[in-house]
Amino acid sequence: MSSAAPGGTTEQGRSEFGVALFLAALGVLVIVMAVLIPESRIARGPVGPATVPIVVGGLMVVVAGFLALDVLRGGRGEPEGGEDVELTGRSDWRTVLLLAAAFVANAVLIEPLGWPFSGAILFWGAAFALGSRHAVRDAVIALGLSFGTWYLFALGLGVVLPVGILRGIL
């Protein structure tokens, strides 16, 4: 999709058409899905469930058109700055993908392995992705955080996070 473009502003123009395309496609999808909503027997009032989605989808298509026009006329979205953001270089896709991998690992493992371990894997993996190379120190912090939050939620807030393999131990 559109976000596959490099971070520099030089090549941004072409990829920004991708954003317009994405919006237009999303708008069409919203309209199509709305039209496909079956007739309801319990619907009340003159406005059915499809009206607002059709309007929103239509608006989205129009906005996509204007955005494309704006890009054509040289308008560029301004990448967001920030305290730790340096916009001069290209996007560091390796870091982003590693982060996403750590994130997905937690999502997949949280139920079988339990939050105390999956959360620690997420933290450790994310710290590694972002350039931390203190493997042992990171692991201690990660486990401290995940066990600490598990106990905080279970004892303090009454929200039980998955225990996974530690069932009966925690």
Partner: protein
């Protein structure tokens, strides 16, 4: 006087030992998280939402009041010590605040910000307590058609007044409205945009959207462009102010309150325009105009007071109409809704204990903030040095925790990542996040009011145009047509002093090579804000 009796009752709720403890924890955590670089007040509230899951409504809201004020103060600490405003409302504070810090007066800048926030917050909360019941009484009379019109105004204002590109603001709004459409339609029971996925039938949890767009999106975006150089943080001692600092600060505090509250209270508010106006006012009235641009204390005192006053003002439309005007208020609204409570005109009648407890705890939170932050400022400054890998790993860790704890469902974690990717794309292409979040939260309500209005008029579209709504639509039209209207206005309508100040902000911000991108966007926003200021003048708001 009725409001005062109610308020005293509210203090009865807020001052119980347990609730006082919640307020204290809220302020402490809010400041600690809010002070971290890259985390603005809205993200602070979103990240800390899960912590209130186990509490009853009153306790949760009281803790939120603390988090809200703590998060905002944390943000100004960051902008003063790092010159990198975490959110647009503290752009102006950073101008003089960071200059003061560089000149070795960081302690005074932090002190005037803290005391100014306290003064403004206290007065503005008092105004809120007096005004809100009246507004709620008036709002009961407001018809569904008028409500719909006011929400349209909120949508348009948030897309047009803020940010540098209207079309991108509208794009963000559309994305938000679409996310808000997902789930079962309440009136017909039909599934919309669920693609047959059972988890989507209940709609997408607002917590997941907020955490995804703010926290995960921000972490991924920053990771792609992480600055690998260490950041220099200005060390700070205990905040204190001399007699002359006080003499120069107290008027800006009061003026800031007067400017901030009304701007926050109108449903098209936000803190950018009023903080900017306050800066300009202080510069003009100052006895030391030559110090502006070199670290004038008035330039910190005024905008900081304005910021806090407009935050309290923003609670008026949020509590009485259910319409949030800032990202932080939007997240708080979502939190209130998650308890099955709908803010709106009836709130004051239905849940008086809750509302007045909340308002009273705003006073408490404000006081705790002052007591806590003056002595703890050096500690907060140390938090700015947290290693970046831990900071962003921590954001992802707590985001996942919050999203999972909301519904105990792994599907939400994948959804969180998808929305985080969306947030990444939006940051990459300058599509603002705020309109999207407002769209997600207000969209379903706007639809409900629209349908109720048309039901009342038997499907006649003319039923949407009632006296109040016509006025509101005229304002909407003016905002939309402003670029055209401005072209035909005589030049001199723009006061010179505003031009000059815009120029100065530009100058003040650009020499720092370190944060070039921030300064550019800051100026763009400030300029935009200054357009908007005229806008509201001309439309008689």
């Amino acid at each position: 006087m009725d409001a005062f009796t109610e308020l005293i009752g509210g203090f009865g709720t807020a001052l119980t030992p347990t609730n006082l403890l919640y307020a204290f924890i809220g302020v402490l955590l809010g400041t600690a998280i809010g002070v971290l670089p890259g985390i603005g007040p809205a993200m602070t509230v979103a990240l800390l939402l899960p912590l209130t899951r186990g509490l009853d409504v009153t306790g949760a809201l009281i803790m939120f009041a603390g988090i809200y004020y703590g998060g905002m103060y944390g943000g100004s600490t960051t902008s003063i010590l790092l010159n990198t405003p975490g959110e647009s409302a503290s752009v102006v504070t950073a101008i003089e605040g960071n200059k003061m810090a560089k000149a070795g007066r960081a302690a005074q800048a932090l002190a005037t910000a803290a005391i100014g926030s306290f003064v403004a917050g206290t007065i503005a909360t008092l105004l809120l307590a007096v005004l809100a019941p009246t507004v709620a009484d008036l709002a009961v009379e407001v018809s569904p058609a008028d409500f719909f019109a006011i929400m349209v105004l909120a949508f348009i204002a948030v897309t047009s007044v803020l940010g540098s590109s209207r079309i991108r603001g509208l794009a963000a709004l559309c994305i938000g409205l679409t996310i808000g459409l997902v789930g079962i339609d309440i009136t017909s029971g039909q599934q919309r945009l669920t693609f047959g996925i059972g988890e989507l039938a209940d709609g997408i949890d607002v917590v997941v959207v907020a955490v995804g767009l703010f926290a995960v999106g921000e972490a991924l975006w920053t990771a792609a462009h992480l600055r690998r150089k260490p950041i220099d943080v200005i060390p700070v001692g205990n905040p204190r102010m001399s007699r002359s600092d006080f003499r120069r600060s107290w008027k800006p505090w009061l003026r800031g309150t007067a400017i901030g509250f009304p701007f926050g209270a109108i449903p098209a508010g936000g803190a950018e325009i009023p903080t900017f106006l306050s800066y300009v006012t202080e510069k003009r009235l100052s006895q030391h105009p030559e110090e502006f641009g070199k670290g004038a204390i008035e330039g910190v005192a005024g905008p900081e007071a304005t910021n806090n006053a407009s935050a309290a003002g923003g609670l008026v439309p949020m509590l009485t109409l259910g319409i949030p005007t800032t990202a932080t208020a939007a997240v708080m609204l979502a939190a209130i809704q998650s308890y099955g409570i709908e803010p709106g005109p009836q709130l004051f009648d239905k849940e008086p204990e809750l509302v007045w407890g909340l308002i009273a705890s705003l006073f408490v939170g404000n006081t705790v903030l002052l007591l806590l932050n003056l002595p703890m400022a050096p500690l907060w400054a140390k938090l700015l040095r947290i290693p970046r890998p831990y900071l962003y790993a921590g954001i992802l860790f707590f985001s996942s925790l919050g999203a999972y704890a909301a519904n105990a469902n792994t599907f939400d974690l994948f959804l969180l990542l998808a929305i985080g990717a969306l947030g990444f794309m939006m940051r990459r292409y300058g599509i603002p996040v705020l309109p999207a979040i407002i769209g997600v939260i207000l969209g379903p309500y706007a639809e409900k009011e629209l349908r109720r209005a048309l039901q009342l008029s038997n499907g006649d579209v003319g039923g949407l145009f009632e006296p109040i709504s016509i006025v509101v639509y005229v304002i909407v039209g003016l905002i939309l047509l402003w670029p055209l209207v401005r072209r035909f206005m005589p030049r001199k309508v723009v006061p010179g002093v505003l031009e000059e100040a815009t120029h100065e902000i530009e100058e003040a911000h650009s020499p720092h090579g370190l944060t070039d991108s921030v300064s550019v966007s800051g100026t763009a926003r400030a300029r935009q804000g200054f357009d908007g200021a005229h806008d509201s003048d001309s439309s008689g708001l």
